[in-house]
């Protein structure tokens, strides 16, 4: 507090007339802004020493160019200013601050010359930089262990137990299966998870001679789905059963796609509807129409927004991460089982972290900030 009194403008000595006048002013230091691409410099000063309550003008001089020019304004109490205006890494800059008082304009002395630098590592992302390799290692090691034959069990997932029953039902009724891989793009993991299930469904359906119809919203997803369908029929030993026209592009329009899906449901009267992937508002339109048509319905969705609607209208619903577990469950492929094991270990670690974190927080040690 004492310092604040000392630094008030009332204590300032009268200016000596020179432009740099205004002492006792306060010290301003300038540093390269950390964790950036070399386009910013940060000025700092002690708010306690600065002209209290004043609005400071930040002045910058570029080496080789004449004089100081204003680049921004800031309240003196803030204590810091980041200059991001048109800085280049190959130029040098220096700064000073100015402010108005009753006696006229006052200025701090100029800082030293400095150039902004670009960093090769963003330290503010340290937590992610630790978490990503750690989790990757966990998953990859679990996969390796599973490949070497480490046994890993997997709990029952009702919705997936029902897949065979559903396909059997379609075969019995002599009706096709309708499968939607969701409305997301091909680079979204939810779509990939849905497509992995598609492969298993087509394979089993082809074995029993049942058609699978797959309308798509995304053109890339369609091409991928076709490749998967072709392979699945091959694996099932019925390559002739594959038909390009069963896997087609409807339209990119979300509700145009919904219209095409319900139209298909009403006309083809599929015995089973699979909704596997990422869905949005159209989810309930699809599931409710399917329900009225009397189809058996199995959904899997990683968008928590639509899960309530699938749960209330479908026979079985894979919730969130269960969608990602599905292909492991259906194929029992060691790679996928191992990966799932890795995810489980990560969850166990996170639960532990939450427990320890809360206990520490109760005794006054905050660790949450490290996760930012």
């Amino acid at each position: 507090m004492a310092a604040a009194h000392w630094a008030g403008p009332s204590c300032a000595q009268p200016g000596d007339g020179a432009p740099a006048a205004g002492a006792p002013s306060f010290r301003v230091s300038v540093d390269d802004s950390p964790n950036d691409n070399g386009s910013a410099l940060t000025l700092t000063w002690s708010p306690a020493e600065a002209a209290a309550g004043a609005v400071l003008t930040v002045l910058r001089e570029t080496a080789g160019e004449p004089g100081f020019a204003p680049v921004g304004r800031v309240q003196s109490g803030v204590g810091t200013f980041e200059d991001t205006r048109g800085l280049a890494r190959d130029r040098r800059y220096r700064y000073r601050l100015s402010w108005d008082t009753a006696e006229g304009v006052r200025r701090t002395p100029a800082t030293g010359w400095i150039s902004p630098r670009a960093q090769w590592f963003d330290r503010s992302r340290l937590a992610v930089a630790v978490a990503v390799p750690a989790f990757s290692l966990l998953v990859l090691v679990s996969i390796l262990r599973a490949r070497r034959g480490a046994r890993s069990s997997i709990r029952r997932i009702q919705g997936l137990e029902a897949v065979d029953e559903a396909i059997g039902r379609a075969t019995e009724m002599g009706k096709p299966i309708l499968f939607s891989p969701g409305i997301d793009e091909a680079d979204q993991p939810g779509t990939i998870a849905g497509l992995a299930i598609l492969g298993k469904v087509i394979e089993r359906a082809a074995r029993s001679g049942t058609r699978t119809i797959v309308p798509n919203r995304d053109p890339v997803v369609m091409t991928v789905a076709r490749a998967i369908g072709q392979e699945a029929c091959l694996v099932a030993g019925r390559p002739e059963f594959y038909r390009d026209e069963d896997i087609y592009y409807a339209t990119y329009s979300q509700f145009g796609y919904a219209a095409a899906m319900v139209g298909t449901m009403v006309r083809e009267r599929p015995a089973v509807n699979f909704f596997m992937g990422n869905f949005a508002g159209e989810a309930l339109i699809l599931a409710e129409t399917g329900y009225t048509m009397g189809a058996m319905q199995i959904a899997g969705c990683d968008a928590d927004t639509q899960l309530p609607f699938f749960i209330t209208t479908c026979d079985y619903t894979l919730i969130g991460e269960e969608l990602y577990a599905a292909s492991a469950y259906l194929s029992r492929d060691p790679v996928l089982l191992g990966s799932l094991k890795g995810q489980d270990l990560a969850k166990a670690i996170l639960i532990g972290l939450i427990g320890v974190g809360v206990l520490l927080a109760i005794v006054g040690i905050e660790i949450g900030g490290f996760l930012r």
Binding site: L350, I354, R372
Partner: protein, 210 residues
């Protein structure tokens, strides 16, 4: 009441009614509307993507800003068409791999931060911190218990026995309560959509109401 004389409004109103007719049952009018919607919207998106992807983001920067790296984009895009032929199909996998892997790559750290770490951080709170009311403390504790139970529910490789069974059961109840909340919350949005359509029919078409 002043019925609109604008052809566009009439077309929109008839399209709206055609889709609504599905509520009674599927019928030729709905089927017509469905196919119009599919055709027109596919054309709309084709033009939008062709213009923004190929003219705005490819041709313009290539010719006036000489950004020749984009040629790779053109080549990769063209290679997508190899997917159409059975013999060349596998070469079409290169653009697909490019597309999927770049997405997968930048997703990893971003998702780790926003869907995992920040969510864990948000859960780590002292329920008994100074200045909290009993209600706030309860909220913190409920969130804490809920997150842990739900995570246990999503634990796939353990058999559901003993404590795990009970905790995971609590997890599913948390999930269902959350779904109930979402459902209840969503109703409002869905009704709004209908209000929008009715306002269009009443105001714009029939000229009734404010």
């Amino acid at each position: 009441m002043q019925v609109s004389t604008d052809v566009g409004i009439w077309v929109g109103a008839l399209g709206t009614l055609a889709i609504f007719s599905f509520l009674y049952r599927e019928n030729p009018v709905f089927r017509l509307a469905e196919h119009v919607l599919v055709g027109v919207s596919a054309g709309y998106y084709l033009v939008q993507y062709a213009y923004s992807g190929l003219v705005k983001k490819f041709w313009y920067p290539l010719t006036s800003e000489h950004n020749y790296w984009l040629v790779f984009g053109g080549i990769l895009g063209a290679m997508m068409f190899l997917k159409l032929n059975r013999r060349t199909r596998s070469w079409g996998n290169i653009p697909v791999a490019f597309y999927v892997a770049t997405g997968a790559g930048y997703l990893i750290p971003s998702v780790m931060k926003s869907m995992v770490l920040l969510q864990v951080e948000g859960t780590i709170q002292n329920p008994f911190a100074e200045g909290r009311t009993i209600g706030e403390a309860a909220t913190v504790l409920v969130i804490l218990a809920g997150v842990v139970c739900t995570l246990v529910y999503f634990y796939f490789s353990a058999r559901r026995e003993g404590v795990v069974r009970h905790v995971s059961r609590a997890g599913i109840l948390f999930l269902l309560a959350g779904f109930g909340a979402t459902f209840g919350y969503t109703v409002m949005g869905r009704i709004t959509l209908l209000i929008g359509r009715f306002q269009f029919l009443l105001r714009d078409w029939l000229g009734v109401g404010g």
